[in-house]
């Protein structure tokens, strides 16, 4: 009964979205109803739909929590032994459930826009809502047509098949919602752009309205990708954190587009320039989110992540993608012609720097897209099945994005419209020296210098230094009082935080790539091994029973060079429901790096000797900096949303002299 309730409310939401969006567009084109009325009606619909879809999602969660194995999706993805938190998460662990989560997120964003858009022009607001509702129609339709999570399984199964053990991880509980929040968040900027294109009014107001939404979506996406990477690191058992796997690429593509978008929006907002580029980026960001969903859900590319494969579904998602993006691109080609080029700027200016960074981001996006789809291209032209591996991506990605760090270092020192080259170069002198010193220091003290390593460390140091120096200069001008610092604008601090995050991230990646060490071990109980200056002692293996698995738990003691010891207990788990075996690594986390230990296989016993095991140990210097860097970027994104410039009430105050200077500084 509960599952039927879920399905009905979903169907009702579909009908409401269909009728209201069509009526909305009908009246908007014919101008047969006042836009004030339409915008109110459509926002009301959006809220109602959010309620209905949340109800539906609640019904699915309830079915999982209550172990209702008469629902096919529950029977296929859960088990009565599964801990409650994972039963909760299992509701989006399947293809069907994750699509419902997608729809819920879309409804959530739509409702959020409905609530936070009272200050938009009525006509614009009504169009935005109508576009978002049309997207709801498309996705609920897809869900009900091909991936209904509420289908019954009669007679009911006695026991469920269980959630993929790889997904039974706390991080996996929040990774998909975060990622989807990001993906779907770009639907909002997409809708803003479509509405603006429909009205033929691409102006700074449109960009200003879009900015907080773009930043929010981008921040969520950043957190989502970060969690995914962290999950792969802790759960896949071989210490990697990024594999350039098609599914990972699918999430990095909209991220790159989104990064370009939030910066390009700044230019359009402040200077009324780059308009057609910005609007294209906002369409592309959402198109790539849809492509990501398609790649993951259709299984068109082989990947360790591709959980569901079904050609019919693939065709449906693909048609949906083509319809949505196709209409958007046609609209773009048709309407943008009427848009002027906007404000002009000289060759050396903040606009140029942002545009340069945009181009670098776009180029790296194209490179990743090419690498991801290349196997399909080769196959389409009759070649053999193949895949493009990390060497390609690493070879193209770093050289394209490291220069971006240098432009980022310059950007706070630049001014809009035109900057003298000298005023850009001068403040970079000290960071440049610092970069050389730090890089040389690392090579002297720890060795293993290489061109990429030197470039990485130098770029990170340079970016961090230049950013901190800019803050120092601002603080000197404004005084250290908290209210004065706040007056610099949250956007400014958001930029500082995010750019420092990029520096920390680059440093982490470079250091872990350069200095990581790994060693394969064969250990008998009582045996001690040297590793990277530390001593590892194996104390044997004991059996342990978890809630839904049994495990061999290796007991190790790691003694660091400085004398401190830690107990490490990696596990080899065997899940009861389906007998799958999983490795659970043990990680000694530290500020300057992790020690990562994972159990291998038991060796055949010879004679009376005790059981020996294989194990693998890694030293991962500074790997945490990768996650912390991403956290700082995401936090920057969140911070910028609360900048007072985006609140209409503060508009008048903005006009005062001192604020004008401040907003000049903030991107």
């Amino acid at each position: 009964m509960i599952a039927e309730l879920g399905q009905w409310s979903l169907a009702l939401a579909l009908a409401i979205a269909l009728v209201s969006s069509i009526l909305g567009f009908w009246h908007l084109t014919r101008q047969s109803l006042s836009t004030a009325y339409l915008s109110r009606a459509l926002t009301g619909t959006a809220l109602l739909n959010f309620f209905l879809i949340a109800l539906s999602f609640g019904a699915l969660i309830w079915s999982f929590i209550a172990n209702d194995f008469s629902v096919r999706n529950v029977a296929e993805n859960s088990n009565s032994l599964l801990p409650t938190a994972y039963r909760f998460a299992a509701s989006w662990g399947s293809h069907e459930g994750s699509l419902l989560l997608w729809v819920l997120m879309l409804a959530g964003w739509t409702a959020a826009v409905a609530l936070r858009s009272a200050n938009l022009a009525h006509g614009f607001r009504a169009r935005v809502m109508a576009v978002l509702l049309i997207l709801q129609v498309a996705f609920i339709g897809l869900l009900l047509a091909s991936s209904n999570p509420f289908l019954r399984l009669l007679p009911a199964a006695l026991e469920g098949r269980d959630l993929n053990p790889l997904l039974q991880d706390p991080v996996m509980v929040i990774h998909p919602p975060m990622l989807y929040m990001g993906y779907v968040g770009f639907a909002v900027t997409f809708a803003f752009s479509i509405a603006a294109l429909l009205e033929g009014r691409l102006d700074p107001t449109w960009a200003r309205w879009s900015r907080p939404w773009a930043n929010a979506a981008w921040a969520f996406l950043t957190v989502g990708i970060l969690l995914g990477s962290w999950w792969a690191y802790t759960e896949l058992g071989w210490g990697g954190w990024w594999f350039w796997d098609p599914v990972e690429n699918a999430s990095i593509l909209p991220w790159l587009a989104g990064t370009a978008l939030i910066h390009s929006l700044a230019v359009t907002d402040k200077r009324d320039a780059l308009k057609s580029w910005t609007v294209l980026l906002s369409l592309i960001a959402f198109a790539l989110s849809l492509l990501g969903t398609f790649l993951v859900r259709s299984g068109v590319l082989t990947s360790v992540h591709a959980f569901a494969t079904d050609p019919t579904r693939g065709i449906l998602i693909l048609s949906l993608l083509c319809a949505v993006v196709g209409i958007a691109f046609v609209l773009y080609a048709w309407r943008t012609r009427e848009v002027g080029m906007g404000g002009s700027f000289s060759l050396v200016s903040r606009e140029s720097l942002l545009l340069l960074n945009n181009l670098l981001l776009a180029a790296s996006l194209a490179a990743v897209l090419l690498g991801t789809l290349y196997p399909l291209v080769v196959e389409a032209f009759g070649g053999e099945k193949m895949s493009v591996g990390p060497p390609y991506f690493e070879a193209v990605f770093a050289p394209l994005l490291l220069p971006a760090a240098w432009f980022m270092a310059m950007s706070p020192w630049s001014t809009w419209k035109s900057t003298s080259s000298f005023s850009l170069i001068k403040p970079l002198l000290f960071p440049l020296i610092a970069a050389v010193v730090v890089t040389a220091g690392f090579i002297l003290l720890r060795g293993k210098g290489s061109i990429m390593m030197a470039l990485g460390i130098a770029s990170a140091t340079m970016l961090a230094c230049a950013t901190v120096m800019h803050v120092a200069q601002r603080v000197r001008q404004q005084g250290i009082a908290l209210s004065r610092l706040y007056a610099l604008g949250l956007s400014y601090w958001a930029m500082v935080l995010a750019h420092l995050g990029v520096a920390v991230f680059i440093a982490g990646v470079t250091l872990v790539k350069t200095y990581e060490v790994e060693k394969d071990l064969v250990l008998s109980p009582g045996q001690t091994e040297n590793f990277d200056g530390a001593m590892l002692r194996f104390d044997g293996v004991r059996m342990r029973t978890g809630e839904n698995y049994g495990a061999w738990q290796g007991m190790f003691e790691l003694k660091h060079a400085n004398g401190s010891t830690v107990q490490l207990t990696p596990e080899k788990r065997r899940y009861m429901s389906n007998g799958q075996v999983m490795s659970e690594a043990a990680i000694d986390v530290g500020f300057f790096g992790d020690t990562y230990l994972s159990m291998g296989e038991p060796l055949p016993v010879e004679g009376n000797k005790p059981q020996a095991w294989t194990a693998r140990i890694y030293s991962k210097p500074f790997i945490n900096w990768i996650w912390w860097g991403c956290c700082m970027m995401a936090l920057g994104g969140v911070l910028s949303i609360f900048d007072r410039r985006y609140r209409n009430k503060a508009k008048l105050k903005d006009k005062s002299m001192s604020q004008e200077q401040v907003s000049q500084a903030a991107v």
Binding site: F294, S298, V300, L301, G326, V330, Y332
Partner: protein, 180 residues
């Protein structure tokens, strides 16, 4: 002119992408094509589970199945009943390759899961034969024809579809010489 091109470019790339993805959907990404398909099967000289010698030369002239399995492999449990079924029909010789598996474990595993479907079980303790065959994961199954060439390679548990599509046709053609 340039500007127009810039405006139309997104649609053109979308169309290209759509065609590409639609084409990609038609093919099965799970199918592993082996370089060894169509080439002579690497020779196997191994001790069998009951201590005799097995040489794959002795299989010349027959269509046979090489199934890589292990007691530590969870998916092997899934395909075991299918193999038992196939064995009951006595259609073709089946050689099991106990991959990186101790003899005692293999024996008790077979006992526990309802019997031995194989005519011969070769013990590949150090996994050398597995490497020569390019074993990607366990279970994996190779169909080897009467000329000693690898005809088909299947990764993952054997299912009805695999038997119907890849085993039956070969048997239909060469059943005459395939006396067991």
């Amino acid at each position: 002119m340039n500007r127009k091109l810039f405006l139309i470019l997104p649609i053109v790339s979308l169309l290209f992408l759509a065609v590409l993805l639609a084409k990609g959907l038609q093919s099965d990404p799970r199918k592993l094509e082996s370089k060894r398909v169509g080439k002579p099967a690497p020779e196997i000289v191994l001790t069998t589970l009951d201590g005799k010698q097995f040489n794959s030369q002795s299989m010349q002239g027959k269509v046979w199945l090489l199934n890589v399995f292990a007691s530590w492999c969870s998916a092997c449990v899934t395909e075991h009943p299918k193999l038992m079924q196939l064995a009951e029909q006595h259609r073709l010789p089946m050689v099991g390759l106990a991959y990186k598996d101790k003899t005692s474990d293999t024996v008790s595993w077979l006992k526990q899961h309802g019997g031995n479907p194989y005519d011969i079980i070769a013990v590949d303790l150090d996994g050398r034969v597995g490497i020569e065959y390019g074993v990607y994961g366990v279970p994996e199954t190779f169909v080897i024809d009467s000329e000693g060439k690898v005809r088909m390679r299947h990764a993952g548990p054997v299912d009805d579809e695999f038997i119907a599509q890849h085993v039956e046709p070969l048997l239909a053609v060469s059943n005459v010489g395939n006396t067991k």
